[in-house]
């Protein structure tokens, strides 16, 4: 029995009407970034589908309705993920901003001190007539300049590390560590001290790593310098190597006073100075450099420290073993 004309008209016009209503609803409740085309498309698609298969126009209506529903749900889900991503981006931007502010605050502090010393030395040079006092002022000025230059040199290393390509050559681990220990001999803190280098005799030869040898020497040297700075003559400093077939593990350990637990998570931050490091010499960038160098070699660095017995600090570097071809 043929359908009445108004039923046909209703079935024919229902899909576009539903599409239109969905569009209006979507437009009202969805955020503005949802494309307007999507809302119009639904109505048009349902209309065309309904028009082409007139006798199945109820199914066309149902299909149009379902598609509308699924797309709206998809969009809602999408909008939610976008919102979540936005929150994460805002949070990481806030963190970066906070880090930047911390860095500038610390930099300000690091520059302020030698600069104040320099200004005082210049005033002394201008005002004093006595030769020995002038000489004294010149020496002070020289020390302040050396400190500022060291800070600048380390800042430059840090910024360079992100930009310039590093070498990838086989690095013989015992030779690398020996060079770092030898280089540390010139440090004033090394005087009267000993750094033990412990390298296992088996396997022989010790597995190699790949990377920029000069940078790796710098990394271990910085750790040794750090260990010497925070220990006294009676304490021990050890550099030791081990391997597990997959990784070469380098440890720089000392029996010093240890790092306060609240400082431990922050010691790799640029210019961070722990509560027991405020009065020590150094740019405050040494450990940040080590971390950056190890990351550039696809390695990891960790620190553990204890202020109670058995006290001491151990920095552990893990670098992937390179199989010689």
């Amino acid at each position: 029995m043929p359908r009445k004309w108004w039923i046909n008209l209703l079935l024919f016009s229902l899909p576009p009407v539903v599409g239109l209503i969905s569009g209006i609803l979507a437009h009202s409740f969805l955020p503005p970034e949802v494309p307007i085309l999507f809302q119009a498309d639904l109505g048009i698609a349902a209309f065309v589908f309904g028009g082409v298969v007139r006798q199945w126009s109820f199914f066309a209506f149902l299909l149009g309705f379902l598609i509308t529903l699924i797309l709206i749900l998809l969009y809602l889900w999408d909008v939610r993920s976008v919102r979540q991503a936005k929150v994460m981006i805002v949070e990481s931007l806030r963190e970066m901003e906070q880090n930047r502010r911390n860095f500038l605050r610390r930099l300000d502090h690091e520059i302020k001190n030698p600069l104040t010393g320099l200004r005082a030395a210049l005033v002394n040079m201008q005002e004093t007539q006595a030769v020995d006092e002038r000489q004294h002022a010149v020496e002070h000025a020289g020390r302040a300049v050396t400190r500022l230059s060291r800070l600048l040199a380390d800042l430059r290393k840090l910024s360079d590390l992100g930009e310039r390509p590093i070498e990838h050559v086989y690095v013989d681990v015992p030779g690398w560590l020996q060079d770092a220990v030898d280089a540390a001999h010139v440090l004033p803190a090394f005087e009267g001290r000993e750094v033990s280098l412990l390298i296992p005799k088996v396997p022989s030869p010790f597995p190699s790593v790949t990377g920029d040898r000069d940078l790796l020497v710098l990394a271990v040297y910085n750790l040794i310098e750090n260990a010497l700075k925070f220990t006294c003559a009676e304490d021990s400093v050890e550099v030791r190597a081990s391997e597990d077939g997959q990784f070469v593990v380098i440890e720089v350990a000392d029996s010093g006073v240890g790092v306060p637990p609240e400082d431990l998570p922050k010691i790799f931050e640029e210019l961070y100075r722990g509560s027991n490091a405020r009065s020590t010499e150094g740019s405050g960038l040494g450990l940040a450099l080590v971390k950056r160098i190890i990351a550039l070699h696809n390695g990891q660095i960790h620190v553990r420290s204890s202020q109670a017995e058995p006290r001491g600090t151990v920095f552990t570097i893990r670098l992937p073993v390179t199989k010689r071809g």
Partner: protein, 239 residues
């Protein structure tokens, strides 16, 4: 200090640097012209024909590199020292590309600048293109293509690490000059390194091995005890 009446053109926009360096260089016996921007540097260089130009990189109106490019384009081969900025490792390579004879990283010791000025002046061949501005260098059967980063010995390509090649490049562009390990470190590595001098010696050993150069009877690289190294073969610019 022997007086040297050479005229230097010093271009730096920072008055604290220019005003302190100029009297220092005057005391060392030079006649110093000071300008504070790139355009004036270019004009003064062309009008006064100084014996040497010291150019800061970042300057108003025209940066130091552009000044150097324009001078070299108009075939002015006045020896030039570029004062590069801290933190830009690529600038060292660029300084060579633009034909600077030497370069110095700020901050530097004025005595280091003076030593560099004297070395560059000693090396200078008036009116001739300097080795630093040439792409192809050769010394006997050794040749270096600086653009392609390739060295050949008797036609055979040498297998060198990038740093060893950079050391060779620096030595060949500064022949017959005693170059300290510290200078090589600053020029090639760009940083101070712990164990730095040993680092240089390791590369030098690599370079000598590849060049088949006997340190006891060197053809190319001579060790100067307590000082550093010297490239002793005669270097020709080809490109």
């Amino acid at each position: 200090m022997t007086p040297d009446r050479s005229t230097l053109l010093l271009a730096d926009d920072d008055p604290t640097i220019a005003d302190s360096l100029a009297p220092f260089l005057e005391r060392a016996g030079f006649h110093v012209l000071v300008v504070s921007d790139g355009m004036s540097a270019l004009e003064k260089a062309q009008a006064h024909h100084p014996e040497l130009i010291i150019l800061d990189v970042l300057m108003p109106r025209m940066d130091g590199r552009e000044v150097l490019r324009r001078l070299r384009r108009s075939r002015v081969w006045t020896p030039t020292i570029l004062l590069t900025q801290v933190g830009e490792a690529s600038e060292r390579a660029l300084a060579l590309e633009e034909g600077a004879d030497d370069y110095l990283n700020k901050p530097f010791d004025p005595h280091e600048l003076l030593a560099r000025i004297r070395a560059v002046l000693r090396r200078a061949r008036p009116g001739e293109r300097s080795l630093s501005a040439a792409w192809l260098l050769s010394a006997s059967d050794l040749s270096l293509d600086r653009r392609a980063r390739r060295a050949t010995l008797g036609g055979e390509t040498l297998d060198l690490t990038p740093k060893a090649l950079a050391v060779l490049e620096y030595l060949m562009t500064h022949p017959d000059e005693a170059i300290s390990r510290e200078r090589l470190l600053e020029a090639v590595w760009g940083w101070e390194y712990p164990a730095g001098t040993r680092t240089v010696d390791t590369r030098m050993a690599e370079l000598r091995r590849v060049l088949d150069d006997d340190p006891a009877e060197p053809r190319f690289i001579e060790t100067i005890s307590g000082e550093g190294y010297r490239f002793i073969a005669h270097v020709e610019a080809e490109g």
